[in-house]
């Protein structure tokens, strides 16, 4: 009896020791989380410049003002998309594979009839270094199939200096009933390249008409480490019913220049060129069609200021 019970006791102790191990202390979890972009990493950062535009000789740089407001709208859209991704960070994975993590399925807090599942997979190169990360957030209503809500792909080791893309399937959030009233109903795509200088971020809203207060356009932003950058955007001009397509260049101090075209119905006018100083005041305008506020009442072509007043290097 004695000799028979000892192995059983030892086995029991060993089982207890093995079973007692618990927690979420994981380097790999951190590695997975590091591959997920954060909101602020994908934000458009347009210099705010000065607000004393009423004192400008040639008038305020209204195009640059629209760049800032458009940037705010883009950031709101990015935040709406990454909100779901951010939720992953705070939650311990439900299961772990050697190169995968799964969260859920669990009930959506605001929509109890919807189950949410997140799967993240990594691929390793020959040196066992991760080079590609794929993640999918999907949702299912009742016993229905899981529909992708967000798909992402990332190349690199950490989002802050890698290349990736995200597709937010607002058409599926709509069908699942988990969308917000202000959300679009078509896919929105984000592409980002944070691997070098500049960092580039694009928000592609060409799959639909309007989203986040923005019109259908492939918005593109490039920001350099020294603060200067480029921003391509579009916005409707309520004064004349035209749509402006703008390419803006700016420096860290807020001075800049832009080139834009205005599409009014079937006719496109352009190119209009403007420069402004850090105070947000126009320093040069070349408006062949006198479309801009600064050229109101002037017989085209409208040329104001001096080209030499444009910021150097842009």
């Amino acid at each position: 009896m004695h000799s028979a019970s000892s192995p059983g006791l030892a086995s029991g102790i060993a089982t207890l020791i093995l079973a007692s191990a618990c927690g979420n202390l994981s380097n790999d979890d951190i590695a997975f989380v590091e591959a997920i972009p954060q909101k602020q990493q994908l934000h458009v950062n347009v210099p705010q410049g000065s607000t004393s535009q009423n004192l400008c000789a040639l008038g305020p740089a209204d195009m640059f003002t629209s760049a800032k407001t458009t940037g705010v709208s883009i950031n709101a859209g990015v935040d709406a998309i990454l909100e779901l991704v951010d939720a992953i960070r705070a939650v311990t994975p439900t299961s772990r594979g050697e190169d995968s993590r799964t969260w859920g399925p669990f009930q959506d807090r605001d929509h109890p009839d919807v189950r949410i599942k997140v799967v993240m997979v990594r691929e390793l190169d020959k040196t066992l270094t991760p080079w590609r990360w794929i993640y999918t957030i999907s949702g299912a209503k009742a016993a229905g199939p899981f529909l992708p809500v967000l798909e992402g792909e990332f190349f690199g080791a950490q989002a802050r200096n890698g290349v990736g893309r995200l597709t937010m399937h607002f058409e599926n959030t709509t069908s699942l009933g988990i969308n917000k009233p202000t959300d679009p109903t078509f896919p929105a795509r984000i592409h980002y390249d944070l691997s070098g200088d500049p960092h580039t971020i694009s928000l592609d809203l060409t799959a639909g008409v309007n989203a986040f207060g923005l019109i259908s356009f492939d918005y593109w932003f490039a920001g350099y480490a020294d603060g200067h950058g480029q921003f391509d955007y579009a916005f409707p001009d309520p004064k004349n019913g035209c749509t402006n397509f703008v390419t803006t260049f700016f420096n860290a101090q807020g001075a800049g220049r832009d080139v834009f075209r205005a599409r009014c119905g079937a006719i496109t006018y352009g190119d209009v060129k403007q420069c402004w100083d850090p105070a947000g005041c126009l320093t040069f305008v070349n408006d062949p069609f006198a479309l801009t506020i600064a050229c109101l009442g002037i017989i085209p072509p409208c040329i104001l200021g001096s080209l030499a007043q444009c910021p150097a290097g842009l």
């Binding site: 020791i17 191990a21 618990c22 927690g23 202390l25 380097n27 802050r160």
Partner: protein, 527 residues
């Protein structure tokens, strides 16, 4: 019983006063500490309590006439002695026969009793006893070099009183008897095996009945001394300190001996029949020795023990005979046939001193052997902790302890292609240990043992609030060793090392090992 002994017993019964006829006073002093230059004694106070219990239960000393002093100062002893002397004088004035007995267990050195940091000279004690108003004054000293108290006159390192000479007198005994556990140049020894000083243990065993060689149910001073002398010398002959020889000063006038204990009033007793033979050790409910019976074949012996549960054991070759008995009013016969045979490893006798508690404060570190595990998961940590330990509770030189440590530190998590991530981690660990001490000389101890612990780790990323905090908990078995150096009575310096096994299962199943090193100081609460 031999014819001579029977005759002697009959004579004593006729000549000596019964216990009830004399008013007896007892001062019992036990002090473990002897001040500077001495090591604390483990059993002095326990010895005193044993003697106090025997004297009040079997020795005819009324509880109100007994004083038990432990950890008392010399002045407190003087005061108690003066108080009892005064009471004895009052009793004597009323016509009572009076006996004053002083028992002391503790340190003695350079002619002084050491009572903590105070002293009382042997000469002072002897003179106090000599001048005490009681008819018979008895001093029983169990301390090193206590034989010096008998130097004044009549010292006789001999096995027994000359009872026959005393019997020749016609009156009751009067005078002074001093008995010391060792001679003036000897150490009195304690024994971890029996959990007492040798002398007191055998004196107590004798007083409980094993010294009743006459078989008359009374243990006289002569019987007790003869018994204690023989057993003490015999049992200490093989010790490292060498044989210990009790001595006595005998200055009794009048007739005969003094009865120290009377077995008859005892409600129950363990009776060892004539057929029993060998050394029987009686353990109390806490498995510590309370008496021994060295039993020759042919005599019957009786131990007048207090009611209670006892275990009797007897070594028989390579095995033990063990039996449990519940003693009440009726005597219980202890025969080998009633004892169960057990292997020596199942000796029921515990570490004799009782649990010895100590508190260890440590500071040290922890280090995982696997370099990958050290990367962020289990970085080297600094730990500060405390351990409460209990020695001689589960067995001689066995100890167990409970420990708790907290610590942590800062580290950097390095992942391929990822900017290093600073982290701060907290660790809490605690466990239960069981180990064995191996004393090396008087001051050093080496120990080896095992431990089962828990470990809890939590880490946060200070500069990265976006990263979630993480934690891990598990049980970790391990081995430990320690080296201790006792640099004062109660304080020791300890260096300790542990190796532990840890099963990690979050990223993947891994068997990990780690070491802990600590330095600390240990404070012993008791001896």
């Amino acid at each position: 019983m031999t014819f001579a002994r029977a005759l002697c017993a009959a004579a004593l019964l006729a000549a000596f006063p019964a216990l009830a006829e004399a008013r007896r006073f007892a001062l019992v002093v036990g002090d473990a500490k002897g001040g500077a230059g001495t090591r604390p004694l483990r059993y002095a106070e326990r010895d005193a309590r044993r003697m106090h219990a025997i004297l009040t239960r079997l020795g005819g000393v009324r509880p109100e006439d007994a004083r038990l002093l432990t950890a008392a100062s010399a002045d407190e002893v003087r005061a108690a002695l003066a108080d009892l002397s005064a009471r004895a004088e009052q009793a004597k004035a009323r016509g009572d026969e009076t006996v004053l007995l002083v028992y002391y267990s503790g340190h003695a050195k350079d002619g002084d009793l050491r009572l903590g940091d105070t002293r009382m000279s042997l000469v002072e004690l002897r003179d106090a006893l000599r001048n005490a108003p009681a008819d018979v004054r008895i001093g029983l000293l169990d301390s090193c070099q206590s034989g010096a108290i008998t130097r004044a006159k009549g010292v006789r390192a001999a096995p027994a009183f000359d009872v026959q000479q005393a019997q020749a007198a016609s009156t009751r005994p009067r005078g002074l008897v001093l008995i010391a556990s060792s001679s003036a140049d000897e150490e009195s020894q304690e024994s971890d095996d029996i959990g007492a000083s040798f002398f007191t243990h055998y004196l107590a065993s004798g007083l409980l009945g094993d010294a009743d060689s006459s078989g008359d149910g009374k243990v006289t001073l002569a019987e007790a001394y003869t018994y204690a002398y023989a057993r003490t010398v015999g049992e200490t002959a093989e010790t490292r300190a060498g044989a210990q020889h009790p001595v006595y000063l005998y200055d009794l006038g009048g007739a005969g001996d003094v009865v120290l204990t009377e077995l008859a009033p005892a409600r129950g007793s363990l009776v060892f029949p004539a057929g029993a033979e060998g050394v029987y050790v009686v353990l109390d409910g806490s498995r510590r020795a309370v008496a021994e019976v060295a039993k020759p074949r042919g005599d019957q012996r009786r131990l007048a023990l207090a009611p209670g549960d006892y275990v009797v054991k007897k070594r028989d070759g390579d095995t033990l005979l063990v039996g449990s008995f519940s003693l009440a009013d009726a005597p219980i016969e202890i025969a080998d046939a009633r004892l169960a045979r057990r292997p020596l490893s199942e000796d029921p006798q515990k570490g004799p001193s009782g649990p010895r508690w100590s508190l260890l404060a440590t500071g040290g570190g922890q280090f995982f052997f696997d370099s990958a595990a050290r990367n962020g998961l289990f970085p080297p940590a600094a730990l500060a902790g405390a351990e409460i330990a209990v020695r001689d509770d589960l067995g001689h030189d066995l100890a167990w302890g409970l420990d708790l440590s907290v610590g942590g530190g800062k580290a950097t998590l390095t992942l391929p292609g990822v900017t290093p991530i600073p982290e701060r981690f907290l660790e809490l660990t605690g466990g239960a240990s069981l180990w064995r001490d191996f004393p090396i000389g008087d001051s050093f101890t080496l120990s080896f043992g095992a431990r089962v612990a828990f470990i809890y780790l939590a880490r946060t990323f200070d500069n990265r609030p976006d990263l979630p905090s993480q934690n891990f908990f598990t049980l970790t078995p391990g081995l430990q060793t320690a080296f201790g150096w006792r640099f004062s009575e109660r304080w020791s310096a300890v260096a300790r090392g542990r190796v532990n096994y840890l099963f990690y299962n979050v990223d993947k199943a891994q068997n990990l090992g780690y070491a802990e090193f600590a330095l600390g100081v240990d404070y012993a609460f008791g001896f």
